[in-house]
């Protein structure tokens, strides 16, 4: 386990708020592979801010 936190990433509850979803819904989307969270040093899942930004972009602007 390294001591570094993942930079520019947010916990699931905060990510859900940003997306306008319930946490439960976001956990379901993670289970469906619609999001790819990383695991923090304490085992907590976090989502990269860049992935969140991509998830709320209009389809034509997505990478």
């Amino acid at each position: 386990m390294n001591g570094e936190s993942i930079k520019n990433a947010v916990p699931i509850s905060r990510a859900a708020k940003k997306l306008g979803l319930d946490s439960f819904t976001l956990y379901g989307l993670i289970q469906s592979d619609k999001f790819r969270p990383r695991r923090e040093r304490w085992g907590e899942l976090v989502i990269l801010e860049i992935e969140l930004e991509d998830a709320i972009k209009e389809p034509t602007k997505k990478k």
């Binding site: 979803l21 319930d22 379901g28 304490w42 907590e44």
Partner: protein, 222 residues
């Protein structure tokens, strides 16, 4: 009174048999504050799912409240392959999401789907559409049961991550001490929220099966 690191162990917290010291208690409260909203959500969802588990047939019956209401699912980028579904019943209502059992007629008979609809304010919905098909089945009751099992799995996933979140808060606060008892206390509280409802559901399902069996044997006797 038992002491740890010179502090008396005298603070009780829900669902944990041991007693915590003042500093453990403070850590517990700080960590719990971080996850309390999600724990409340888990408890509520678990209670709502109980009815789906115990009485899936009730949700397979069309609810007049949703008569004439439809959802449209898109199956191509150009939007030229859309399917229209009639809403049959509401399975779960969350703050920003409704989950419905829907049906549509196909050349091979009725098809059922569990579909979630996100609120219009959701940024995710604005970018990705507000409809998401969770599962499809040719049996309404089976669809309800499959959804309940899937939702239960999601709740366990959510609870285990909540414990990890609490762990992060506790370690950040007391990096120099061993916070294992605090983590255990939080973990047991989260497990209780998931486990209690599960036990109750199993008991009700068993009770229903026994009651059905009794009714069947009474029917045979008559």
């Amino acid at each position: 009174m038992l002491k740890r690191d010179g502090e008396s162990c005298k603070y009780s917290v829900p669902d944990f048999e041991g007693k915590l010291t003042r500093s453990e208690f403070d850590s517990y409260n700080e960590a719990f504050e971080t996850i309390k909203d999600e724990l409340a959500a888990i408890t509520q969802i678990k209670a709502d799912l109980k009815e789906l588990n115990v009485n899936p047939g009730v949700f397979a019956i069309p609810n007049d409240q949703f008569a004439e209401q439809t959802l449209e699912t898109k199956h191509s980028e150009r939007g030229d392959l859309n399917l229209r579904w009639d809403i049959r019943s509401l399975l779960l209502k969350l703050t920003c999401t409704d989950v419905f059992l829907c049906e549509r007629m196909t050349s091979e008979g009725k098809q059922f789907a569990v579909i979630e609809r996100y609120g219009n304010e959701s940024l995710y919905a604005k970018a990705n559409g507000n409809i998401n098909v969770l599962l499809v089945s040719n049996d309404a009751q089976q669809a309800v049961q499959d959804y309940a099992a899937r939702a239960d799995h999601t709740l366990h996933f959510m609870a285990s991550n909540m414990v990890a979140t609490a762990q992060r808060v506790v370690w950040q606060r007391v990096a120099s001490q061993n916070p294992s008892r605090v983590i255990r206390a939080i973990s047991e509280r989260c497990s209780k929220a998931i486990g209690d409802a599960q036990d109750e559901i199993q008991a009700q399902i068993l009770e229903r099966k026994l009651s059905n069996r009794q009714n069947q044997s009474i029917g045979q006797t008559l």
